[in-house]
């Protein structure tokens, strides 16, 4: 074995990846104390939308189901949280979990038709849900406060910790996101993940394997919805007032752009996608009234045609090139001296 | 008789498994060539190589010009008809619409004779005339086979490839089909290449035969020579 082939177990690429990850986490934890309130507010928006994008990655990236209605599910979580806090003064932690649970059930209901139909119909059904949600919320105003919405206060940090409300919600969202990323990795690598892998390769093959195709697809849709619901609850905690105009079809499309851009199958890619979705409108609005939407469209097209894995695939691809260069280098060595 | 079609060192891959390895072949104008061999020997891939459905290495010349760089539809427009495995029926179109697609495939020069040909085809396959308005998907296997052949013939191809026409058909229908094939060569002055598992029928129909095994040409020659070969007798004729 020539000197260049390091011991197999800790391959340098993966080590670098994990190192970068650890550094990012430290930065994420320290950031709120060194940046302005506005930036913390934006970071928290990225984290909450990141949760929604992560839920789409699980759905689209691993079970191939397209949902254009996740803005409604995100909104369902948000409104449930706001209503429970505003009307029943339920503690916000509980309210968010209840929002997630309700979203999970909604996911099950939406998932059931998903069994019998192919992707295009699910896209259609969820499009209907996304268009209908703001109208339904505006209509039933005794419950939802209608167009005026319901206002809840961003809660201060518990146990007397001296943190501004925005910063507290930031950490709450960061912790939730970490949990969901862990869950995401668990699902993808676990039994359900393998079943999904089969599902993605070909529906026929998956059926042949006796995988509970119906059960798996519905379960994944429900888990994805539950995640998005909790993300919505946190988002609402941050924004304060729940109004129908936040949870519209455009938000669903933004989630999809974030998901495709970040990389459909990656967990960390969801954060990159969410950051893009949150920061593009502010940075490009000056170029023209519809510039943000145009930038979304162009980015989506660029990823689909030229960068299929999305941003998440870039390091892997660079790593791949670096590794293959190194591998050929090792092989040459072996040929020359190794025999 | 100059060779209508000739292939030199034709190689094709199915994924990374070699389906054809350095296959050489010729087909002369007006003859019927039978392509024999067990399942997976490369019969279907050879036909697809000729009709350019499959990418290949090596050279294939049709009427003197190389066709390696053509796409499937360009090759078809040059006069290569191909009745594919599974018959390629347009299930949601009517029988007549299927046939019209065939006549639309012919070169400009022959457009004039399209109507006459349609009647001729209805004589060749009377069952199709009876079912002319029916949805093609409602036809039986045998009827769809005849429809596929009729459709290809209507395109007045110079070379007609047929991929296992007898597959899934009863003996009576197979006889009917093969009897039509020999009439087609006469009445439609076309050259046929028939890939077949049904060796007895193929050898009775064809002038020459080409035996394939695991992507290579095992044996080629006049049908009676090939029929004598002990390997062929043992494996296929088994009389």
């Amino acid at each position: 074995m020539s000197a260049y082939a390091l011991p197999g177990r800790s391959d340098p690429g993966a080590l670098a990846g994990r190192g970068v990850l650890a550094i990012c986490l430290c930065l994420a934890v320290l950031a709120p104390f060194f940046v302005s309130g506005y930036t913390v507010f934006q970071f928290t928006r990225v984290l909450c939308i990141g949760i929604a994008v992560l839920s789409i990655n699980l759905l689209l990236g691993y079970s191939g189901q397209v949902s254009i209605g996740h803005s409604a599910i995100f909104g369902l979580g948000a409104y449930t949280t706001a209503i429970l806090i505003h009307k029943a003064s339920v503690p916000y932690g509980l309210a968010i979990l209840a929002g997630g649970a309700l979203a999970f059930v909604a996911g099950l209901l939406l998932g059931v038709p998903a069994l019998r139909i192919r992707g295009l119909y699910l896209g259609l059904l969820t499009l209907g849900v996304a268009v209908l949600f703001p109208t339904i919320v505006s209509h039933y105003r005794e419950l939802t406060g209608g167009p005026f919405g319901i206002s809840i206060r961003t809660p201060p940090a518990p146990w007397g910790i001296d943190l501004a409300p925005d910063k507290w919600v930031y950490f709450l969202s960061l912790a939730t996101l970490l949990v969901f990323v862990g869950g995401f990795q668990g699902i993808v690598r676990g039994r359900i993940g393998r079943a999904l892998g089969a599902l993605r390769k070909s529906e026929a093959m998956a059926a042949a394997l006796g995988v509970g195709l119906a059960r798996t697809k519905t379960l994944i849709f429900a888990i994805s919805a539950g995640m998005a619901g909790i993300g919505g609850g946190l988002y609402q905690l941050l924004i304060g007032t729940a109004t129908p105009t936040t949870y519209t079809l455009t938000l669903s499309l933004a989630f999809l752009v974030g998901s495709v851009l970040g990389g459909l199958r990656s967990s960390w890619g969801a954060i990159a996608g969410a950051a893009f979705v949150v920061y593009v409108p502010d940075k490009t609005a000056s170029l023209g009234s519809t510039a943000p939407q145009l930038v979304y469209a162009i980015a989506l097209a660029v990823v689909i045609y030229f960068l299929p894995g999305g941003v998440a695939a870039v390091p892997a691809r660079l790593l791949g090139m670096w590794r293959s260069k190194r591998a050929t280098h090792t092989v040459q060595l072996q040929q020359r001296g190794g025999k | 008789m100059s060779a209508l079609l000739e292939g030199r060192a034709v190689t094709a891959f199915y994924g990374d498994a070699p389906a054809l390895q350095d296959v050489d072949f010729e087909v002369n104008e007006g003859e019927i060539l039978a392509v024999l061999g067990p399942n997976g020997a490369g019969k279907t891939t050879l036909l697809r190589a000729i009709s350019r459905v499959v990418r290949t290495r090596g050279e294939i010349r049709f009427r003197g010009d190389s066709i390696v760089r053509l796409s499937a539809d360009q090759a078809a427009r040059r006069g290569i008809g191909h009745v594919p495995e599974g018959r390629g029926t347009f299930v949601d179109l009517t029988v007549e619409e299927n046939l019209r697609l065939g006549s639309l495939a012919r070169r400009r020069a022959d457009r004039g004779r399209a109507l006459g040909d349609l009647q001729a085809v209805y004589q060749l396959f009377p069952i199709l005339a009876e079912f002319r308005g029916r949805r093609a998907g409602a036809l039986s296997g045998g009827q769809q086979q005849m429809l596929a052949i009729a459709r290809a013939v209507l395109g007045r191809p110079r070379l007609l490839l047929l991929d296992e026409p007898s597959l899934g058909l009863g003996p009576v229908v197979v006889n009917e089909v093969f009897e039509r094939l020999s009439r087609i060569r006469e009445e439609w002055s076309t050259t046929l290449v028939v890939a077949e598992q049904n060796v007895r029928q193929a050898l009775r129909l064809a002038d020459r035969a080409l035996l394939m095994r695991t992507g290579r040409v095992a044996l080629v020659g006049a049908t009676d020579e090939v029929a004598q070969d002990p390997a062929v007798q043992r494996a296929y004729l088994g009389d």
Binding site: S10, L15, R18, G19, A22, L25, C26, V29, L30, F33, S36, G37, Y38, F41, Q42, R45, V131, P134, T135, S138, H139, R141, G146, P147, F148, G149, S151, R153, I161, D162, L163, Y235, L238, I239, G240, T241, T243, T245, T246, T250, P281, D282, A285, S286, G288, S289, T290, A291, P292, Q293 | -
Partner: protein, 402 residues
């Protein structure tokens, strides 16, 4: 600490330890809040922030900000506000509450705005935040007045007052009025219905039908058919843009001749009525002059406005009702700011609430700016009738008593 220790539960433990350490550091360094000079005010400058929908389906309302910019430009060229020049910083929120919330924090924390201008329903989302950061927001439309939101002020008068005045007029002038309402399902419909009930007073039972439509729905012919079938002869319309034009055309085409009251903010000679053309018995209750109205062709105030827009917001259309609305709003704001020598949030709020009747050249004749406890700055209306391309005043100005 080898690489492998970064994997598995040990990594999580490390992370938590780090978090605890950082929190301790943060807790000790919390700075007490001192009463620094009011944010955004210096000797010669006052910073005003603006968040408007410059993109998205409601981008047309971005013109309000263009109008305000024009007047601020004029004010700066003429000595500013008590010597302070106005620095006007705007951001786009695309009519999305979450972007408005982040713009508000950006304008206040980063740009140090003294007060905020914004537009429409999304501003409901920051009423709490504005109280927390003790900063005034002037909504360039009308937000529901709630006592606890002392720092949220509205430029437009309350829709309920307008509907009330129009309904009262109808009760007096339409024989056996059967009232119907067709409006978008946002706050417009709710306030309109409330106002109509108050205005009809004893004839409340005459209010027979209310139909709301979603903003996305443009063809409302089936709703109009239904209202007509229910015998409505006095129709209140609270729609916008294409829906409004389509509705008025359909009413005329089908030969239906009800007395129509149109919500004043959705009415414009340029953009709506110029596409509808001639129309019989169309009324509204207005408080602001329409710049495209030939009646004001020689009006000094309107012409000054048009000249200033051409000079300080050249790419804005002076004939647009939205540009003029924004300009007049800026005039109202500066009028209030001039009442106070050294503005603080508290002193400006007091000046706003107690503003004595003051002339604003773009208001309808005999209508003046005037403060009020709830946070509105205009409390008077003039009922008008639209006929051959202009608004004719009907009756006298009505003042809201409370």
């Amino acid at each position: 600490m080898t690489a492998s220790s970064l994997r598995g539960p040990r990594a999580l433990a490390l992370m938590l330890a780090l978090l605890a350490a950082v929190l301790a550091v943060a807790a000790s360094s919390a700075t007490a809040v001192t009463d620094a000079p009011p944010r955004g005010i210096s000797k010669n400058q006052i910073i005003i922030g603006g968040s408007f929908p410059f993109s998205g389906p409601l981008a047309v309302y971005g013109a309000l900000s263009e109008g305000a910019k024009a007047y601020f430009g004029w004010v700066n060229a003429h000595g500013g506000v008590n010597g302070r020049k106005i620095k006007y910083v705007t951001l786009d929120d695309g009519y999305d509450p979450s972007r408005l919330a982040s713009n508000a924090r950006n304008l206040i924390e980063q740009q140090n705005a003294f007060l905020l201008l914004d537009f429409g329903g999304p501003a409901n989302a920051i009423r709490d935040y504005m109280q927390q950061v003790n900063t005034i927001q002037m909504n360039m439309s009308g937000l529901h007045d709630e006592a606890r939101y002392t720092l949220t002020k509205s430029w437009w008068p309350d829709i309920r007052w307008e509907a009330g005045i129009e309904a009262a007029w109808a009760a007096k002038n339409v024989s056996n009025p059967k009232v119907g309402l067709l409006a978008i399902n946002n706050d417009l419909a709710l306030d309109f219905a409330a106002g109509i009930n108050r205005g009809l007073g004893s004839k409340k039972s005459q209010f027979v039908s209310t139909l709301t439509v979603s903003p996305a729905q443009v063809d409302v012919s089936s709703q109009l058919n239904r209202l007509r079938a229910e015998g409505v002869n006095t129709l209140f319309v609270g729609l916008t843009g294409a829906t409004m034009v389509g509705a008025l055309k359909y009413i005329r085409q089908t030969g239906w001749k009800p007395t129509i009251f149109v919500y004043s903010a959705a009415l414009a000679l340029r953009g709506i009525l110029d596409q509808v053309g001639e129309f019989e018995n169309l009324y509204s209750a207005m408080w602001l002059k329409d710049p495209a109205d030939p009646r004001w062709a020689k009006n000094a105030g309107v012409n000054t406005y048009k000249a200033n827009v051409a000079k300080y917001s050249p790419d804005a259309d002076p004939n647009s009702i939205f540009v003029e609305n924004g300009y007049a709003g800026a005039v109202a704001l500066v009028t209030v700011l001039k009442q106070v020598k050294n503005p603080t949030t508290a002193s400006v709020v007091k000046a706003w609430n107690t503003l004595a009747p003051t002339v604003n050249p773009l208001l309808m004749p005999n209508i003046k700016l005037s403060g009020g406890p709830q946070g509105r700055i205009v409390h008077q209306y003039q009922v008008v009738n639209y006929a051959n391309g202009t608004y004719k005043s009907v009756g006298k100005v009505v003042t809201i008593r409370r």
